[in-house]
Amino acid sequence: MIAQELYDLLKTTFSDGILEAKLDGVIDPWVSVAPDRILDVARFLRDDERTQFDLLTLLSGVDMTKGTLAAVYHLYSMKRNHKIVLKTFVPETHPHVQSVASIWRTADWQEREAFDMYGMIFDGHPDLRRILMPDDWDGHPLRKDYQVPEFYNGMKVPY
């Protein structure tokens, strides 16, 4: 399926769960999904006979600036040989997204990374802890407004 067909299929199936899309003029066409519908959309895309997205190649967090965070899902189907990108946008003040770790196991650690670096909360994640930074670290370092602390456990951090 090409991106336009995938988008039409999603739009007819989920109507208001699908917010916007950019299908032309980009390398990876993307569809933006409401953060509280992403689990349904993911399950549909994996299980439906026409889509069969069996592989989540990448899940990343993004700081869109102006108080918005995003989770980006790069999906690929080994069986159908097609791909699509999903995005969910959430406000920094309420960064809750449904976890898709129950759909693709590989999402487990990648969601933990997005939590660690951007502070996104993945509801329903089996074990949402930091994965890279120390457990007692303050803040989420890849946020654009992040300030490096002067000291960490008595060690000076800046050069």
Binding site: L132, N153, M155, V157, Y159
Partner: protein, 164 residues
């Protein structure tokens, strides 16, 4: 012993000081602690492997800090790792030495400005004897660093305390 053959015609005796013998013994078998942190560790492994053969200097890797004389800090010291390095250093028996290998361990390297997670120099948590510059240093540079450390040990006096 080819070097020493036919040099001691007047009997089987060599005159030296206890300190010299001790220093010679210690510097000739500098056991290094077996751990690596980042890309520099790859170069350290190459130095230990057959082509550069660190063994011929009496240096090979031990997996326990209790058996190690020198800690080669090869790579990026993250803040998360820094406390572990301190613990490992404390576990080494004295006299112990630290060789900081590469820009990262020396001063933060490429992470000096934006590395929120990197300790800007391992000398902020443990004392360093020799700094080897480079990103990464070539095996020759690491060997040079070890030879420099040997020079330092050769001058140390354990029995005869230096008088000022």
């Amino acid at each position: 012993m080819g070097l020493l053959n036919q040099r001691f015609e007047n009997g089987n005796v060599l005159l030296t000081s206890v300190d010299d013998v001790l220093a010679w013994g210690r510097l000739s078998s500098l056991w290094a602690m077996q751990f690596g942190l980042a890309c520099c560790a790859i170069e350290m492994m190459a130095t230990g492997a057959s082509h550069y053969d660190l063994d011929r200097f009496g240096t090979f890797f031990r997996s326990s800090p209790r058996q190690a004389d020198v800690m080669i800090v090869a790579g990026t010291v993250t803040l998360k790792m820094a406390s572990r390095i301190k613990t490992l250093y404390d576990q080494m028996a004295e006299p112990r030495y630290v060789l900081s290998m590469g820009s990262c361990a020396n001063c933060g390297g490429p992470y000096w400005e934006h590395g929120y997670h990197v300790l800007k120099g391992v000398d902020r948590v443990i004392p360093v004897d020799v700094y080897v510059p480079g990103c990464p240093p070539r095996p020759e540079a690491l060997m040079e660093g070890l030879l420099k450390l040997k020079e330092k040990i050769r001058k140390e006096r354990l029995i005869l305390k230096q008088t000022a």
